[in-house]
Structures are given as structure tokens and as C-alpha cells.
């Protein structure tokens, strides 16, 4: 029999206002096992905790029930208290009489009656509690960063600086991500390449960082501190360690008509290519979809001109398996496809472009060397219309775009408009907006400058239709403030497309058992207090994979994720949650039902010798739970047909005792 102490908290008037706390303490005194019962104003205060500690010693308590706020609030506090008084912390149970009682019920008799029942259930549970000891697991001191954009690069650099080795896995042939494609950055207008490329070089030169470019994560196993990840290094048909990046092969490749994805298809590249001049690693890659040698076995020109002998047409994909203590997801974003918004004629005219295409068109390293011209005829545009919120803030039932605000479009559109007016004062620039959202340091000032100093026409309203007629784009729009329907003959229309998580995020989340929201953004462990951690232990989030964000926000989140990783990797060992499944080997019949439902692969089967009553030896197949891998969901306990599987801390008999106490 347990010796249980009951401690009823007033929480000032939060509980005592609707619950007669004395009556609760009094009523619970008569429950089986209870040897001490009291109430106090603030149980979580130092004085309150001392009451608990003293009672544990004085009454030789073996179990504690605290009737107070939610266990999500102070369970940890009271467990610590118990442990300081020498009691196993898992002998403490909380009856939630604040959030789930005093705050939701109005009158004292009702509140008191329910509080007593909740206390009774907690007492019934503690009667069946058993001391639990957390296990320990080793921490592998190496981190994996998935995604090599600015988020991934920054996270990797910060972790590497703390002295831990990091691998960056990037699916493209170079790191750099979206930021490498941008021209200038708001609101300071520094050039994106000038601030990004030194970081890319730093990453390449840092001895703690290994860049696995043109690679993808294929399989993830293990758990916090000890993940095992399989990475597919795709064949690039060029020996990375030998290639000097001289570009001779690119120059000689006869396959000249490959759409250049770095410039969003606005110009062409060769079948063997280096994405851009500052690529890291600066190594050529052969595109197997276009290379004649790989497709038909005819050509081989690049191998002939490569003096280093780096070309290898026989290269195969390579699988690398590595162990990591922590994983950072930095898979970033993409602009959405504009196919469903053809009222803006994106698929009907070359001169209707997306904002990212506009970035490339104004970038000195872009397809036009930075000269802003119409893609259709190379002429200088005189009237440019920018349309904001294309696909953002769409209602779900409209089934076209995204429900959320993409956050970055207001600012980059202001930047595009301002830069256009600055460089080409002869252009008329219209921006159609629903709301201009500029919360950020110097953001609104920036937008106002576009209007006041650069004369950008901001029109409150939306564009309804863009009609390509001859070489003009007829834009029909509303100006809600003047109450007019506007008809503008534009030369160029720029659509601020909504952004969405990269398509690789969803399968990755499944591999990591990390949760996502309905928009495929990764979910944080807590939206306010744990913004860079995934609810899955050991998985951290960096950048736009968690939600739309601009560069400064991405960089600060990247740093925050790195500091969380470092905090994990400096530990040699981790304590594990003791509330894990446990199989009673004598009852287990080896059916594998539990193994099949376990989402973590924590259950394995072993053949074990059993000594039978007649002293004979029998070998039986029984389930074994790896407590370091088990997360304690309990799916297996219900699947088990023989009742062998149970969950520590939430044993079947404990829950049944609670049910009985409530239904008494």
C-alpha cells in the first residue's frame, strides 16, 4: 500500500474562487492510501514546495498528488520537488483543478464536487504508480543540415564555429539557394551576391563543414542524439575532387539549348554546366536528360577537352550512410506555379513575368546582364504593372492559391518598383495592392520612399484581367479609392507569386516523423516559446521551411537553430523519457502486432530462452522495446492481443483505476 500525500493549491483565488479547497483536502483524506492531506495558497511557491518536501519526510510518503493547475504547467516543478525530498519523481501525479475545473465552471458546489472526483482519480492512479528511472543515450557529435540556402549555410557555419562537424545536403549542384538568384535585398539594397557568396566560400573552406551537393536524403532512422541517415549522392558524371571548375567543358559542349533553371528558363545553358560563376562547389555537372553521350553514347567532347580528366560517364549514384546527433531542416521555399491564375495571362504572354523572373532580369549576372527589357522583343518597357498577392491570401474554398500571406512580396515589390524608377526614370510604375504590409525595421520608411521620392503609383485595388493585344498588355484593374475601373496599357506585368514550401519537404517530414501544417510548412514545438525546434526531438527548423520569412529573419532563425543544436551536441549523454512501452515477456506470444503499429521502429523481436516449471528450456520469440527509441505513444499496448505490452506511467491498470474513480 502506498502512503500518499494530497496537496490542494488555491492558486490565489484562481482555484479557491470556485472550488472549496478545504473541502477537497478533507474529502480526499479518506481515499485509500492517503495519509496526509492539506491545502495552501500557492503550492508552486518556495513555501508551498517546502510543505510538500516536509510532508514527504514527516509522513514517509511514497506518492504525491498535487491538485493544482495543468500538469503541462507545473508537473516538472513538482516532480523536482519530490525528487529533492528523496522521492522518485514519477510518483507524483497532478489533478488539473484549474484549467479543467475552476476556470470552466461557475459555482462552488459544482467546482468542488468535480475537483474531488479529479483528485480521487489522481489518488487512484498514484496507488498504482511505480518508480521510474530515465535511461541514457549517447550523443553523436555531428550535425546534418538539409538544404544549402542562406538558412542552411548560416546554421552550418554557426554549428561549425562551435567546433562540431556538420554536413550540408543540397539537392542542386551548388549551395546558395534562392538568395543566389536575387539582385538586391530590401530595405538596405545591398547586393545579394555580395553578402551571400562570401558565406558560401566560408562554408566551403570551413574544415568542420562537408558540403554534399547534388545529393538528397533518402532514409532517416534512429532518434535524438543518434540518427542514422542515408544520403544519395547523385551521379554528376564529373569527379568532384578532380574538377577545377575551369569551364572548358561547358564552352565546348555542343548541346546549347537546355533551359537554364538558374535564370528560370529565360535563357539556355549547356548539357554540362556550372550553375553560376560563384557556385560552391565550383564543379561542372552533366545533365543526363540532355547529354548526348549519356543518352546515345555519341559525343564525348567534354571528356576530350578536360585536361584534368575529371569527366566520368560511368559514374553512378552513391549512397552514403552517416550518423548524426541532430538534424536541421532548411529546405526553403519556391514561388507557386502561376498556371491557375491565367487571368493575368502568365501562360499567354512572355511579358507577364513572376517577381523572381524580374529579379533575374535586373540582375547584372542575369540573362540580360541587368538590362531591364521585355522578354518578348527585348525592348525597354515604359509602363510596368506590379500585381501583389497573386495566390496569397486565397480562401481555401477558392482552391487556387494559399490561404496565408507570403510576407515578403510587399517589400520586394516596393524594391522592384523603386529600383526601376531609379534606373529608368522614364518608366511609369504601378503597384496594385490589397494591403501594404511592412512590419520590420526600416520597412515602412522604405515603402514610403518608393511612393514619395521615386513616384511609384500605388493603387489600392486588384487587377482583374491582363489581355495581351499586339505588343501591349491591356490591364483592367480597380482603383478602390477613386472608385474607378482602370485600363492601363502596360509593357510588362510582374506578378508577386505566393511562396510555398519546397516539394521535398513533405516526404522529408515523413522520414523525420516531424509534423507539418496543412500548407506543408514544418510545425514548431511551440509557436512562441520553441520556434526553431520541431516537436520531434533532435530535429530543428531553419528558414522558410517553417513559414514565409525574409533574409534577416531567416538568418536569425538559422542562428537560433544552430544554438539549439550546439546545446544538444555539447552533451555527452541524454536522459530518455522513462514513460515508454514495456513488454511482459511471459505473456508475449510473438505475434508482431506491436511491431507493425510502432511508428518509430522501437520494437524488435528476439528469440529468448525460458525455463519452464518442469525445468525444461523453451525458446520463444518475444518482443523487446528499445527504450531509447520508444516515444511512449502507446499504440502497441492496444494492438497487443495478449495484454503483454504496457506503457510505463500510463499503465492499463492505472487508467482503469482512473475510470473507476471517476465513475464511482
Amino acid at each position: 500500500m502506498q502512503r500518499i500525500g494530497v496537496f490542494v493549491c488555491w492558486c490565489g483565488s484562481n482555484i479557491a474562487g470556485t472550488v472549496d479547497v478545504h473541502a477537497v483536502a478533507e474529502a480526499l483524506k479518506t481515499e485509500p492510501g492517503v495519509v496526509f492531506s492539506t491545502d495552501y495558497q500557492y503550492m508552486c511557491s518556495q513555501a508551498g514546495q517546502n510543505i510538500i518536501k516536509d510532508a514527504i519526510r514527516d509522513y514517509r510518503l511514497t506518492g504525491v498528488v498535487v491538485c493544482s493547475c495543468s500538469p503541462r504547467m507545473h508537473e516538472v516543478t513538482f516532480r523536482k520537488t519530490a525528487s529533492q525530498a528523496g522521492l522518485n519523481p514519477y510518483m507524483v501525479e497532478i489533478a488539473n483543478i484549474r484549467e479543467q475545473c475552476s476556470w470552466v465552471h461557475k459555482d462552488v458546489p459544482t467546482g468542488t464536487e468535480k475537483a474531488i472526483i479529479l483528485g480521487r482519480a489522481a489518488v487512484a492512479k498514484v496507488n498504482l504508480n511505480a518508480p521510474l528511472t530515465p535511461g541514457e543515450s549517447l550523443v553523436i557529435k555531428r550535425a546534418l543540415v538539409i538544404g544549402g540556402g542562406i538558412a542552411g549555410i548560416q546554421t552550418a557555419l554557426d554549428i561549425a564555429d562551435a567546433g562540431f562537424p556538420v554536413d550540408i545536403v543540397e539537392k542542386q549542384p551548388t549551395i546558395g539557394g534562392k538568395m543566389a538568384q536575387l539582385d538586391k535585398t530590401f530595405p538596405t539594397l545591398d547586393c545579394a551576391a555580395c553578402i551571400l557568396t562570401p558565406k558560401m566560400v566560408d562554408a566551403a573552406q570551413n574544415e568542420n563543414i562537408r558540403i554534399l551537393s547534388y545529393s538528397e536524403v533518402e532514409k532517416v532512422g534512429g532518434f535524438v542524439g543518434n540518427f542514422e541517415v542515408t544520403i544519395r549522392k547523385k551521379a554528376r558524371y564529373v569527379k568532384e575532387d578532380i574538377c577545377t571548375g575551369c569551364g572548358a567543358c561547358v564552352e565546348k559542349c555542343p548541346m546549347k539549348k537546355v533551359p537554364n533553371e538558374f535564370n528560370l528558363g529565360m535563357d539556355n545553358r549547356r548539357a554540362v554546366y556550372i550553375p553560376f560563376a560563384q557556385a560552391v562547389p565550383k564543379v561542372a555537372t552533366i545533365d543526363p536528360n540532355y547529354c548526348n553521350m549519356l543518352k546515345n553514347g555519341k559525343c564525348g567532347l567534354c571528356a576530350r577537352v578536360c585536361t584534368a580528366g575529371a569527366i566520368d560517364y560511368t559514374q553512378k549514384d552513391e549512397l552514403i550512410t552517416e550518423k548524426y546527433g541532430a538534424i536541421v531542416v532548411a529546405t526553403g521555399y519556391n514561388p507557386i506555379s502561376l498556371d491557375k491564375f491565367d487571368e493575368f495571362a502568365y501562360n499567354q504572354s512572355k511579358d507577364v513575368i513572376s517577381s523572381l523572373e524580374f529579379e533575374r532580369l535586373t540582375n547584372a549576372a542575369g540573362p540580360t546582364a541587368g538590362k531591364l527589357v521585355r522578354p518578348s522583343d527585348g525592348k525597354h518597357p515604359h509602363t510596368i504593372v506590379f500585381v501583389q498577392c497573386v495566390g496569397s491570401r486565397c480562401d481555401a474554398c477558392a482552391e487556387k492559391g494559399k490561404e496565408y500571406c507570403s510576407k515578403i512580396c510587399c517589400m520586394y515589390t516596393a524594391k522592384h518598383a523603386m529600383l526601376t524608377r531609379d534606373k529608368y526614370p522614364d518608366t511609369e510604375v504601378y503597384v496594385f495592392y490589397i494591403d501594404v504590409r511592412t512590419p520590420g525595421k526600416n520597412f515602412d520608411e522604405f515603402y514610403r520612399r518608393a511612393v514619395e521620392e521615386y513616384g511609384v503609383h500605388y493603387v489600392k485595388g486588384m487587377v482583374g484581367k491582363v489581355s495581351p493585344e499586339g505588343d501591349t498588355l491591356k490591364v483592367q484593374a480597380s482603383d478602390l479609392i477613386s472608385g474607378k475601373q482602370l485600363h492601363i496599357d502596360a509593357d510588362l506585368v510582374v506578378l508577386a507569386a505566393a511562396i510555398e514550401p519546397d516539394a521535398s519537404a513533405r516526404p522529408l517530414a515523413t522520414m523525420l516523423t516531424a509534423s507539418m501544417d496543412t500548407n506543408d510548412f514544418f510545425t514548431e514545438a511551440h509557436p512562441k516559446l520553441r520556434p526553431v525546434e520541431s516537436p520531434t526531438a533532435g530535429v530543428f527548423l531553419s528558414g522558410a521551411c517553417q513559414g514565409p520569412k525574409d533574409i534577416p529573419e531567416t538568418v536569425s532563425q538559422a542562428g537560433a537553430a544552430a544554438s539549439k543544436v550546439i546545446g544538444l551536441l555539447v552533451k555527452d549523454k541524454l536522459t530518455t523519457n522513462p514513460c515508454v512501452a514495456q513488454s511482459n515477456e511471459l505473456m508475449c506470444n510473438g505475434c508482431s502486432s506491436c511491431e507493425l503499429v510502432c511508428p518509430y521502429g522501437a520494437i524488435t523481436y528476439i528469440d529468448k530462452e525460458f525455463r519452464m516449471p518442469d525445468r525444461s528450456i523453451q525458446i520463444r520469440r518475444v518482443a523487446q522495446v528499445n527504450p531509447a527509441v520508444c516515444q511512449g505513444c502507446g499504440a502497441c499496448t492496444v494492438a497487443c492481443p495478449s495484454g503483454a505490452m504496457d506503457l510505463n506511467g500510463f499503465k492499463s491498470e492505472q487508467i482503469i483505476a482512473e475510470v473507476d474513480a471517476i465513475c464511482r
Binding site: 476556470w103 459544482t110 472526483i117 496543412t518 502507446g634 494492438a639 500510463f650
Partner: protein
């Protein structure tokens, strides 16, 4: 809302990560629901053994509700899918035994849905109260 002054006994199993937190949020926002609802915390809705539901009815509960994370949002990835299937089977069996479908329910309540939690409990308590006392499965030997 008691019907004819009758107050039902309702057992609610709530998963620790979503629904229990949703119930806490209902409390934080002071959203009322009947005190007839008593919550039992489980790590995941998939920890709820059909046996627990049967036990509750045997001991005189008038309604049992199981709340978990929304499909796809389970903290343990897939636990709530197990719950959905298991309970669909159990409830149809209970229906066969004469425990009306309305006395059993599975609901998805996220940690952010305090209002939904309260609304769900109000609705469920009202429905169960309108059915009156559960006599079918109650084991009178359990009554003192």
C-alpha cells in the same frame, strides 16, 4: 445543459499533445462547459484501449468521448489513425449491444482549439443528457 435536471456522467480521454492542451486553452479562455465532463490524460489517443471505454460504460458512464490531434497532426505521426479505426469498430459493436452511437464519439481538437473543445463538450453533454441514463452496459454489481 441538464435535461429534466438529469446530469450525465461523461468520461473524456484526451491526448496530451493536442486535446488536453486544447482543454487547458478552453480553461485559459474561461469557456464554460458542463462539469459532467471528466478528463483523463493519455499520451496519445491511440493509448485508449477499447477496454477502457467498455469499463467506463460498465461502471455507469453515460457517454465516452475520445479526443486526439487532427489527422496528419499526430505528435506520434500516426496514432490518431489507429484510434479512428479502432473506435469505428468498437462503436459499431457498442451500437449492436444497445449503446447508442450518440453516446460515443471521436473528435479531433488541436492545442489551439480551446473554443472547439468547449463547444464539442457542450454539444456532447447535451446529446448524452437527452438520451438519459445508460442502463444497458452498467454492471449493477459495481454499484455499492
Amino acid at each position: 445543459m441538464p435535461v429534466n435536471g438529469y446530469k450525465p456522467l461523461i468520461v473524456a480521454f484526451c491526448c496530451n499533445w493536442c486535446s488536453y492542451a486544447g482543454a487547458d486553452l478552453a480553461g485559459n479562455n474561461r469557456l464554460n462547459y458542463p462539469a459532467d465532463v471528466k478528463i483523463i490524460r493519455v499520451p496519445c489517443s491511440c493509448r485508449v484501449n477499447p477496454m477502457f471505454v467498455l469499463r467506463a460504460f460498465q461502471r455507469g458512464a453515460d457517454g465516452v468521448i475520445i479526443c486526439g490531434c487532427h489527422p496528419g497532426d499526430c505528435h506520434y505521426t500516426s496514432g490518431n489513425y489507429f484510434t479512428r479505426r479502432r473506435m469505428a469498430l468498437l462503436f459499431s459493436m457498442l451500437d449492436y449491444l444497445g449503446i447508442e452511437r450518440e453516446r460515443t464519439r471521436v473528435e479531433w481538437v488541436s492545442a489551439a482549439e480551446g473554443a472547439k473543445f468547449a463547444a464539442t463538450m457542450n454539444d456532447f453533454a447535451e446529446t448524452v443528457a437527452s438520451l438519459g441514463e445508460n442502463k444497458r452496459l452498467e454492471d449493477l454489481r459495481c454499484k455499492k
